[in-house]
């Protein structure tokens, strides 16, 4: 393999894995904007989605597309439950108890799944049976192509939804100023519930997409969530474009780092990049430095 095609190969797989980080990071950003809180269970949405998919395919033997739709539907229900069990009782308290509560939820979800499915990682089917094809010496894995395509669609959908629909505008208003939104008659509690539902679904989608690449395991969510969080910081905390760019960047850095530096320490690169950004550009690539208002 030539040097160029090796690098292209690394870039391709880096972008695909990065796209999954971007999807989870998008969920992070939406919840941060709606509630000013980081949801520590964001990655576990991906884990739950992947396990739901595995169950539908192997235990219930459903066809792929039906399983896919049902798994996502399950995630929306899950988002509702999460909102009312984990966020809603603490909505009037400071961010500290809410964050700790989402952390508790994360531990609960991982270990409940562990109790049900056991510690063994599960394989998950790819969307298409064909392994992929080779273009100019670069092997394009079919699942990676699907990941990139779905991410593109999700981002386009989100852009359209937030900028061109009334519901999207209401969600934006809620995230900018809850009190004002309430005063103009927007049902804020509903909007936040909707945000959790959307984030849970997005997380589940990410899990279903990356499952065939990583194996479906209890800990997959925490790893992805850490990367996705790093992505939101690198891109600019709370910034949608930042989350996407940060996720892709991180995926590429990891892919090259693993190839050229070290495989066992692959998971450390995200953290190092995060520290570098915190040191030299804490507001991230797209972030603006905003002081708290007095």
């Amino acid at each position: 393999m030539s040097n160029l095609s090796l690098n292209l190969q690394l870039l391709f797989s880096g972008l695909a894995v990065g796209a999954v980080y971007s999807l989870v990071a998008l969920g992070f950003v939406l919840i941060i904007r709606a509630t000013n809180v980081v949801n520590f269970a964001q990655g576990d949405f991906a884990m739950i989605g992947a396990f739901a998919m595995v169950t539908m395919l192997t235990a219930l033997k459903l066809p792929y597309w039906l399983a896919f739709v049902l798994a996502l539907a399950l995630m929306t229900v899950f988002g509702v439950i999460f909102n009312y069990a984990v966020y809603y009782p603490l909505r009037n308290r400071s961010f500290l108890p809410v964050i700790i509560s989402t952390l508790g939820a994360s531990i609960f979800m991982q270990n409940a799944v562990l109790g049900i499915f056991g510690p063994q990682p599960r394989p998950l089917e790819k969307v298409f049976k064909t392994p992929g094809f080779e273009v100019a010496g670069v092997f394009l894995d079919s699942q990676y192509l699907v990941i990139l395509a779905v991410t593109l669609i999700a981002v386009a959908f989100q852009y359209f939804f937030f900028e061109h629909t009334l519901l999207g505008k209401k969600l934006q208003a809620t995230s900018q100023d809850k009190d004002m939104a309430r005063l103009v008659g927007i049902p804020v509690a509903w909007m936040i519930a909707l945000t959790f539902v959307y984030s849970a679904t997005l997380g589940g989608l990410a899990g279903i997409l990356i499952g065939p690449v990583l194996f479906v395991s209890i800990g997959m969510g925490s790893t992805i969530a850490l990367k996705a969080f790093s992505a939101t910081v690198i891109g600019g905390f709370g910034d949608v474009t930042g989350a996407i760019v940060g996720g892709l960047l991180l995926g590429v850095v990891e892919s090259f780092g693993a190839a050229y530096i070290s495989v066992p320490y692959k998971d450390a690169f995200a953290f190092l990049l995060l520290l570098v950004f915190l040191l030299i550009r804490p507001q991230g690539i797209f972030g603006e430095k905003i002081s708290e208002k007095a």
Binding site: P97, I99, I100, G104, A105, S106, S230, P264, F271
Partner: protein, 599 residues
């Protein structure tokens, strides 16, 4: 029954309750002292000894969490990594480098504090959520290194044969003796952590937890305080880990995983994060709980997660919160004993005639919006200078630039002849700039006295440095604003008007040369407004300089010597109240173009 006998009866029962409370404390202390001696008297199963060894060493690390989470309000999710640094340094230091236990322990503490310091310094600048994530990442990397750097850490197999330390020539090889030693260390740490909130540093930590911006503006170097808290926490983690390694003689990466960090967090929360007794209690309970709940083994971590949510929702103060509420019922409700209170003093010589504050061409732009567009104001010493203007004219932005919450786009801010343009709010507080906020920013869970003491402990406050001097200063300031009898009340429970006064007292206790008041009359009723006017007039007698924003014209006319008027970020008029209120531009700005006689 006469009033006297009633009073006597009440005080007798108060005394009796006081005696009972004192006896209870003494009894508990004796019990605590006797606890580690039990294994020497009664035969105890070695397994039980091991469990207690684990509980005691864990508790030391958990008390670090009390400082960082409970006192300072920062989320730290990697305490097991610091615990591991302590343990591995002792293991490798004694076995590989041949160091003595104590030296290895010291090295571990230094390494952990250093790691904490670096992580804290990079992360804590940028606020709330970052520390949580960065500490998890640190934890993940630490795990990776422990498992993969086999040449040094011996990888997943772990390290065995770690020796026990010796103390005064006596090796603590016996489990009972070593446990007693660990308990002794734990008691020392509990005492230290319990004492901390009664010091400047501990109060500053709580101020950061309660309201970071108010802390900064009151003169607390918030970043330093947070980094110190985090480093202390890391150091305690390392001490716990070192004791753990020597206690069990064997360690492996599993003992320092993210799961253990979560256990530390849960222990802190369950027991009550704001008290060292709570932390210790939570640790013992959660170590014993799995023993009692063996049947839950499979889903025991899931129950853990659920417990965290339930504690947050139903018991935010943990078990110790419930215990201490019961204790308060038992303890006599005696008013704060303070003895005679000194008169409040703010003695600034009025000989210096240079202006206290000079704003030179100050500008603040937000993107394209010129909120403050080149204003020049001089505030003369010993005067009350008001800044008025319609909504959105840039008043609060000016104040925020003035005390360093915003960096100006251009211009200079000179206080008492010193250029403070590029300093942070706490440095300005140290140069005598005090401030209150339009929507009151107090430290809600602290008492009025503690709130005011935090104001009094600013750098360069011209009072004695001792703790008792701080307290006297705070009491005399509270007396000055008429709240001496509320000194021990938690400010959250005070009525709105009193909260405003506490906020003013907090600034005054720091002897500000320049006091900035942001709409001090907002939300006050007529009586309270009159009291505020009286207070401001009394302050003028003390030679202090006041720069205030206010909408209530009646109040402004009564107290101000001079008024500057802003509109659209520019100064449109300045002068005595009479001059300014007749100024045609001012009338136009407030009432529109057609000119009416101002009332």
């Amino acid at each position: 029954m006469t009033i006297q006998t009633l009073a006597a009866g009440a005080s007798a029962s108060t005394a009796a309750r006081g005696f009972r409370a004192g006896a209870l404390v003494l009894l508990l202390l004796l019990l605590a002292a006797a606890l580690p001696l039990i294994p020497f008297v009664v035969k105890v199963n070695p397994y039980i000894l091991n469990i207690f060894m684990q509980a005691v060493t864990y508790a030391v690390a958990v008390l670090g969490m009390t400082i960082v989470l409970g006192y300072t309000g920062q989320i730290h999710l990697g305490q097991a990594a610091f615990f591991g640094i302590g343990a591995y340094t002792v293991a490798l230091g004694t076995l590989v480098l041949g160091l003595n236990f104590w030296l290895a322990l010291l090295l571990g503490v230094v390494l952990a504090s250093l790691a904490g310091f670096i992580l804290g310094l990079t992360t804590l600048r940028v606020g709330g959520h970052y520390l949580a994530m960065v500490t998890i990442s640190f934890q993940v990397i630490f795990d990776l290194i422990l498992t993969n750097w086999i040449a040094v850490t011996r990888g997943p197999d772990g390290i065995s044969g770690i020796g026990r330390p010796s103390l005064f020539g006596y090796t603590l090889a016996d489990d009972k003796a070593y446990l007693m030693f660990c308990v002794f260390v734990l008691y020392l740490v509990i005492f230290g952590v319990w004492w901390l909130p009664k010091t400047r540093l501990g109060r500053a930590m709580q101020a950061v937890r309660e309201n970071e911006m108010a802390a900064e503006v009151s003169g607390v170097a918030t970043l330093v305080v947070k980094v110190v808290a985090f480093s202390l926490c890391a150091a305690l983690g390392a001490v716990g880990g070192a004791l753990y390694a020597a206690g069990f003689a064997y360690i492996s990466p599993d003992n320092f995983s993210f799961k253990i960090s979560i256990e530390f967090l849960t222990m802190t929360l369950l027991g009550g994060s704001q008290s060292p007794f709570g932390g210790a209690l939570g640790t013992v309970l959660l170590i014993l709980l799995p023993e009692w709940l063996r049947f839950l083994k499979e889903i025991y971590m899931a129950a853990y997660g659920l417990a965290v949510i339930l504690i947050m929702v139903f018991m935010p103060e943990g078990i110790w919160g419930i215990v201490s509420r019961a204790w308060r019922r038992l303890r006599p409700l005696r008013p704060l004993a303070h003895g005679p209170v000194e008169p409040f003093k703010l003695d600034f010589p009025l000989t210096d005639t240079a202006p206290v504050l000079q704003l030179v061409n100050v500008q603040k732009h937000f993107g394209g919006v010129r909120a403050v567009d080149g204003i020049n104001i001089n505030v003369a010493r010993g005067t009350v200078h008001a800044l008025i203007g319609p909504n959105g004219s840039g008043k609060t932005t000016t104040l925020n630039v003035l005390n360093g919450i915003y960096r100006p786009t251009a211009g200079q801010i000179i206080v008492d002849g010193k250029d403070l343009t590029h300093t942070s709010p706490h440095v300005r507080a140290g140069h005598g700039v005090g401030r209150t906020f339009q929507n009151i920013r107090l430290f809600p869970a602290l008492s009025a006295l503690e709130n005011v003491m935090i104001g009094a402990q600013r750098a360069h406050n011209p009072i004695e440095r001792s703790e008792s001097a701080l307290r006297r200063r705070a009491l005399s300031t509270l007396d000055f604003v008429g709240l001496l009898d509320r000194a021990d009340r938690v400010v959250r429970s005070l009525p709105y008007g009193h909260q405003r006064l506490v906020e003013i007292a907090r600034s005054l206790a720091g002897s500000p040369t320049l006091l900035l008041l942001d709409e001090p009359a907002a939300g006050l009723n007529q009586t309270e407004k009159q009291e505020l006017v009286t207070l401001l007039k009394r302050l003028r007698g003390h030679g202090i300089t006041i720069f205030l924003i206010e909408h209530d014209m009646g109040l402004i006319v009564q107290v101000s010597d001079r008024i500057s008027v802003l509109n659209f970020g520019r100064k449109i008029a300045e002068g005595t109240p009479d001059e300014v209120l007749r100024h045609p531009d001012v009338i136009a700005a407030y009432l529109g173009e057609s000119v009416h006689a101002a009332a």
